[in-house]
C-alpha cells in the first residue's frame, strides 16, 4: 500500500508546478486572512476561473492535444497576490493577457514573457488603473525567511535556482553598494531586501524556467541585466516596482541571449531534459502540441 501511494505521489512530486501551486495558494490565504490584502475571495475566484477558461480556449484555438490547468492556475494565483485594481474588468483582462501571452508572444518555441509579469506591466502601462502594492507584505523577518525557504524549494525543484541566486547576489550588491556609498546604515538596505514582494519576484517570477535563457551563463547574464534594470528604475528613476518593469524589458533580450549562448530548453516535469534538446544554433521548430504550457 505504501508502495502504491509512493507510485501515485511520485509523478506529482516530480513536477515543481504542484509545489508552486500549493505555496502560492498558501501565500494567498495568508495574505487575505492574515495581512488584509486588498482582494476578496470573489475576485480571486473570478481571476482564477478566467485564467483557466482562457487556457482552455487557447488550447482549442491552437489545437493542442490536452488542457493543462497548472500553468494558468499559477498565473492566476500570482495575479491575485500582486495585482490590485478597483475594476474587476481589468483584473479579468489581466488574467486573459497573462495566459494568452504564452500563446501569442513566442520565439523559437518558448514564450517570451513571464505571463504574470507581462499582464501586470502591460496593464499598468496602458491603463494606469492597476497597481502593485510592494509594501503589502510588511517586513516581518519571519515571513521573509519562510518565503525564502518555500520559494527556494520551488526553484530547486525547477532546476533553475541559478537565476534566482544570481539575481539576489547582483541586486544585493547594488543595493548594499549604493547604501555604503551614501553612508547609510546597513539597516536601510537590509530593510529594502526584506520586502516580501521582492522575494516573491525573486523566487517565483524571475525563476520561471520557461522564460529564462537556456544556458546557465545566459541565465546569469539575464539575472545581471534584470538586477541592474531593477536597481536603475528603483533608485535612479525613482519609480516603484523596478523589478517588474525590468523583467519585462529584459525578457526581450532572452532570444538574443539564447542565440549567443545556445543550450537545451527546459521542459516541465522531465527528469532528463536531454531528451528534449533543442539546438539553438540550428533553430528547430518544435511542434506546438509537444510543448507544455
Amino acid at each position: 500500500m505504501i508502495r502504491a501511494a509512493f507510485r501515485f505521489l511520485r509523478p506529482i512530486a516530480r513536477d515543481p508546478r504542484h509545489y508552486q501551486i500549493a505555496i502560492l495558494s498558501a501565500l494567498l490565504a495568508y495574505g487575505m486572512l492574515g495581512l488584509d490584502f486588498d482582494i476578496d475571495s470573489g475576485s480571486s475566484a473570478v481571476i482564477l476561473s478566467t485564467a483557466l477558461l482562457t487556457q482552455y480556449l487557447c488550447t482549442r484555438a491552437w489545437h493542442l492535444s490536452s488542457f493543462d490547468p497548472r500553468s494558468p492556475l499559477i498565473s492566476g494565483l500570482s495575479l491575485c497576490l500582486l495585482l490590485r485594481t478597483d475594476d474587476i474588468e481589468l483584473a479579468l483582462a489581466a488574467a486573459v493577457v497573462a495566459v494568452a501571452s504564452k500563446f501569442i508572444f513566442r520565439v523559437n518555441g518558448k514564450h517570451l514573457f513571464n505571463p504574470t509579469n507581462i499582464a501586470i506591466v502591460g496593464l499598468m502601462a496602458l491603463t494606469g488603473r492597476v497597481w502593485v502594492s510592494p509594501g503589502q507584505w510588511g517586513n516581518v523577518a519571519f515571513f521573509a525567511f519562510l518565503m525564502a525557504c518555500l520559494g527556494g524549494l520551488v526553484v530547486n525543484r525547477a532546476s533553475r535556482s541559478d537565476v534566482t541566486y544570481a539575481f539576489i547576489a547582483f541586486y544585493m550588491t547594488l543595493v548594499f553598494g549604493r547604501s555604503l556609498w551614501l553612508g547609510e546604515p546597513l539597516t536601510i538596505p537590509t530593510h529594502r531586501l526584506q520586502n516580501g514582494a521582492l522575494l516573491l519576484f525573486t523566487f517565483f517570477m524571475i525563476s520561471d524556467p520557461r522564460t529564462t535563457p537556456n544556458s546557465r551563463v545566459g541565465r546569469i547574464l539575464f539575472a545581471f541585466l534584470a538586477a541592474c534594470g531593477a536597481w536603475y528604475i528603483q533608485f535612479r528613476v525613482f519609480r516603484t516596482n523596478g523589478p517588474l518593469w525590468s523583467l519585462a524589458i529584459c525578457s526581450l533580450a532572452v532570444p538574443l541571449i539564447d542565440w549567443l549562448l545556445p543550450a537545451r530548453r527546459y521542459e516541465w516535469g522531465q527528469p532528463k531534459p536531454e531528451a528534449l534538446l533543442v539546438e539553438a544554433t540550428k533553430p528547430q521548430r518544435i511542434p506546438f502540441k509537444e510543448v507544455h504550457i
Binding site: 490590485r84 492597476v130 502594492s133 510592494p134 510588511g138 556609498w181 551614501l182 553612508g183
Partner: protein, 453 residues
C-alpha cells in the same frame, strides 16, 4: 544625469543662547530651550500630480520664536516663488474633515422603528499628537555654499549646498544651530544624493510687522520623481516614538507607502455610548493597540475620500480656494473663497479631481529605518475611521417587540464592550462597570465538574 530627489523634511534645530533653537517638521522633533528634545505630532500635506509636489509642513511649536529653526533637504535650489507661508487654519480644516469620527444612532420605540444618524468629529490630530561676510567666508571654508537667501513671510530662509556633512554640521553649529549628535551621519547620505538644504528661522522683525504670534506652516513646491518624506533626521535624537500625520492630495487616488505596510484602521464597530465623552482617550488607545498589533511597523490609513463630499461629514469639505492654498495647482479657483464645498452632493466622481488620503504613523528608528516612500494608486474606494454609538430606547412600551428588544439589548451591550476591549485593550471588567452592565452569565457547569466536589 542625476535625478535627484525630493523633499525631505528634516528638522534640526538648534538652541543656543541667543540663537535659534530648533524645531521639527515631519515628525521631526521640537527642541526646548535646553538640549532635551521632545517629540510632538507633526502634520504634513503632500500634494502630488505627476512629478510635481507641494509640501506643507506644520508643527505645534509653542516656544520662543527666536528658538525656532528648521533644516529641510530639498531636491533643487528653490527660487523665492517656490516657497510660500501658508495658514495653519487650512491644516486644521483638513484635520477636522478627515479625522476618525463617531456616528450616533438613536433606537426608536421598537414598535415603530426609524433610525437616523448624526456624526461628530474626532479629536483633532494635533490633540494627539552673524555677520553676512563672516558667515559667507566660514561657509566657503567648510565647503558649504549659500545658494540663495530670502525672507518670506516671517521666516529668513537659506538654501545651502554642501560637499560633506562635517562641513555642513560645523557651519550650522557655528551659525548658532545646535545639531543633535549623530545628525552628521544622516546628512552625509543626503549630501551624496546632491540634495540642497532649506534652512529657515524666524525673522522677529518681520514677525512683529506681520503681527502673527503663531508660526505658520512653510510650503515648498518642487518637481522631482521622488515621492517621499524624510524622517531619518528627525529620529536622530528622538525621545521615543514620534507621531506623524500625512494628508496626501492626489488627482489619481489613494496614496500608500511602498516600503512599509499600509493598513486600514479598524472601522465600523459598535462601541459603548460612554465612548462619546472619552473619544480622545479611545482614539489614542485604539491607535496604540493597532500599532502594537502591527509590530510598530505599519502606517495606518485613517481616511480616503474624494474631497468634493463626505458622508457623514465630520467637517465641511474644503473649498476650491482652500485646496489651491494648500497647493492643489490643478484645481480651478471657483471664486468661492473659504465657502465650504457641499456635504452631500454625491457629484460626478472626482468632480474636483482631488482624492485625499490621511495617513497616521507612529515611528522610531528601530522599526522605520528608512525614509517613507509613497505611491499614488488608482484606488478611489472611500474609507473612513468610523465608530458607532447606539443609544438604547428607554421607553416603557410593553408590546412583544419591546420585550424582545430589551432581551437583545443585553447581548448588544456585551458585544459593544467586547468590541471596545478588543480595539483598545482596555479591561473588559472596567468597561462593563462604566457601562453599568453585568457580565454575561457564565456557561452552566459541565456535569463532570460537580462529581468530585
Amino acid at each position: 544625469m542625476r535625478r535627484i530627489a525630493s523633499v525631505v523634511a528634516v528638522l534640526i534645530a538648534a538652541a543656543a543662547w541667543n540663537s535659534p533653537a530648533l524645531v521639527a517638521f515631519c515628525g521631526f522633533y521640537v527642541a526646548k530651550a535646553d538640549t532635551k528634545l521632545f517629540n510632538k505630532a507633526s502634520q504634513v500635506v503632500l500634494v502630488r500630480q505627476g512629478d510635481r509636489t507641494v509640501l506643507t509642513m506644520a508643527n505645534d511649536f509653542k516656544g520662543d520664536p527666536k528658538e525656532f529653526a528648521v533644516v529641510i533637504p530639498v531636491p533643487t535650489v528653490l527660487q523665492k516663488g517656490q516657497i510660500h507661508i501658508g495658514e495653519k487654519a487650512l491644516l486644521d480644516h483638513l484635520d477636522a474633515y478627515s479625522a476618525p469620527r463617531l456616528v450616533e444612532y438613536f433606537d426608536e420605540d421598537p414598535c415603530q422603528q426609524i433610525l437616523y444618524e448624526r456624526a461628530m468629529p474626532m479629536p483633532r490630530a494635533s490633540a494627539v499628537a552673524g555677520g553676512m561676510a563672516e558667515r559667507d567666508t566660514l561657509a566657503k571654508s567648510l565647503g558649504v555654499k549659500i545658494e540663495a537667501q530670502y525672507t518670506v513671510g516671517e521666516y529668513d530662509i537659506l538654501i545651502l549646498s554642501a560637499l560633506q556633512s562635517t562641513g555642513l554640521e560645523t557651519w550650522l553649529r557655528e551659525s548658532g544651530y545646535r545639531i543633535p549628535p549623530g545628525a552628521a551621519d544622516v546628512l552625509t547620505s543626503y549630501i551624496r544624493q546632491n540634495l540642497k538644504f532649506f534652512v529657515a528661522r524666524v525673522n522677529l522683525k518681520e514677525q512683529a510687522k506681520l503681527g502673527f504670534t503663531m508660526l505658520r506652516p512653510i510650503q515648498v513646491a518642487y518637481e522631482s520623481p521622488k515621492f517621499m518624506l524624510p524622517i531619518r533626521l528627525g529620529m536622530v535624537n528622538a525621545d521615543g516614538p514620534q507621531e506623524l500625520f500625512v494628508y496626501a492630495l492626489s488627482s489619481k487616488g489613494r496614496v500608500e507607502t511602498t516600503n512599509y505596510r499600509t493598513v486600514k484602521l479598524p472601522t465600523g464597530m459598535d462601541v459603548p455610548v460612554y465612548v462619546k465623552s472619552r473619544f480622545p482617550d479611545f482614539y489614542k488607545a485604539m491607535f496604540s493597540r493597532q500599532a502594537a498589533k502591527e509590530n510598530l511597523s505599519a502606517i495606518f490609513t485613517e481616511y480616503a475620500w474624494d474631497t468634493s463630499w463626505c458622508d457623514p461629514c465630520a467637517a465641511d469639505p474644503l473649498s476650491s480656494a482652500e485646496l489651491r492654498q494648500l497647493g492643489v495647482f490643478w484645481v480651478a479657483d471657483l471664486g468661492n473663497g473659504t465657502r465650504p464645498g457641499p456635504r452631500f452632493p454625491i457629484p460626478v466622481p472626482g468632480a474636483q479631481g482631488v482624492f485625499m488620503t490621511r495617513l497616521h504613523v507612529r515611528y522610531d528608528a528601530a522599526h522605520f529605518p528608512e525614509d517613507l516612500v509613497f505611491q499614488e494608486t488608482a484606488d478611489r474606494t472611500n474609507f473612513q475611521g468610523r465608530y458607532v454609538l447606539r443609544h438604547a430606547w428607554t421607553g416603557d412600551s410593553t408590546c412583544d417587540a419591546a420585550v424582545h428588544y430589551r432581551a437583545e439589548l443585553t447581548q448588544r451591550h456585551e458585544r459593544e464592550a467586547q468590541n471596545l476591549a478588543g480595539l483598545t485593550g482596555w479591561n473588559i471588567t472596567d468597561i462593563r462597570r462604566t457601562m453599568n452592565v453585568d457580565a454575561p452569565p457564565a456557561e452552566p457547569a459541565a456535569w463532570w465538574q460537580k462529581i468530585w466536589k
